[in-house]
């Protein structure tokens, strides 16, 4: 069993109103040194494969086809020990 993490973030050029709202809320809590907040998504996927299995390539395809929208989002795939 392999555990894989896919992190999805809005591309830098896409405005993130949720991140902005969180940044403002942090300011109201007194965290006045916050420069910027951007919110993303983290997927934890368990795959019936070994860590060095080429089957893990499928996770990248999952991210490309469903987990992320390449028009507005970037993603990163990494394995968990």
């Amino acid at each position: 069993m392999a555990r894989v993490v896919v992190d999805v973030m809005l591309k830098p050029e896409i405005v993130d109103p949720q991140g902005q709202a969180i940044q403002r809320a942090l300011g109201r809590l007194g965290f006045d040194r916050v420069q910027s907040v951007r919110q993303g998504k983290r997927f934890e996927i368990e795959v019936d494969a070994d860590l060095d299995d080429p089957g893990l390539v499928q996770v990248k395809e999952m991210a490309e086809r469903l987990l992320a929208n390449a028009v507005i989002e970037d993603f990163e795939v990494r394995s968990l020990p």
Binding site: P17, Q18, N69
Partner: protein, 225 residues
């Protein structure tokens, strides 16, 4: 023979009832399509209604795009089937890559719900031919993620090829690039629109009957074919 226009119901669709009513008002025959049933070719056009398909999980429209009905609608749309996606339906069309770009959270962070003035910028598509070029209409808008974005080359192509079908007139309600409210594909059979023409087909229940033209347009197109 009356044109048969399918209206898809996904789990979480809200405006399928009004879309069917608008089709009836325009003189067509609405046909209910269920998200789990592949479309078997018994309809002449399809409307993807507004709402929150699959609870807007993951991204608006991302899960609906892989529903059995959409697999066949996408195939037939590439072959020329007229398809109108309204609000969440527009999001489904972008996720399906039938239309370029994406719809993201409104720049002011609020859900917007009001009557909106639009200018028709393309009166040649399957869904806008009943309007005059430059005509201004007022129909409701209601969305939280209606801000149209696309890469600058894509925006330039949409503008250069006249694929922007409707633009916000007056205030931009959500921060959409170039005030874009709706776009068409190159062939003009697929149109996505963020505001809601199906809620404006009768002055008794909407701000106007200005929305009827979208449905009259496709009936006109189907009568010609």
């Amino acid at each position: 023979m009356t044109a048969r226009i399918g209206v898809v119901t996904f789990p979480g669709s809200l405006d399928d009832g009004d879309a069917a009513r608008a089709i009836r008002y325009a003189g067509g025959e609405p046909v209910a399509l269920w998200h789990r049933d592949p479309d078997d070719g018994r309809v002449d056009a399809v409307v993807l209604p507004g709402g929150f398909s699959y609870g807007d999980y993951l991204r608006c429209g991302a899960i609906a795009r892989f529903s059995p009905v959409m697999e066949t609608v996408i195939d037939r749309a590439r072959g020329g089937l007229p398809v109108l996606g309204i609000c969440n339906g527009f999001q489904v069309l972008c996720e399906s890559h039938l239309l370029p770009g994406a719809l993201t959270r409104n720049d002011h962070q609020h859900f917007v719900c009001r009557d909106q003035r639009l200018r028709i910028e393309n009166a040649a598509s399957a869904w806008t031919s009943a309007y005059e070029l430059g005509e201004e209409i007022v129909i409701p808008i209601k969305n939280g993620e209606g801000r149209y974005v696309a890469e600058s080359e894509t925006l330039a192509r949409l503008e250069g090829d006249g694929l922007v079908v409707a633009r916000y007139s007056g205030d931009n309600p959500n921060g959409s690039a170039n005030d874009i409210a709706g776009i068409a594909n190159e062939a003009g059979n697929v149109v996505g629109l963020m505001p809601h023409p199906e809620h404006a087909v009768d002055p008794l229940t909407g701000p106007s009957a200005d929305g009827l033209g979208f449905f009259a347009s496709v009936l006109k197109r189907l009568a010609v074919l």
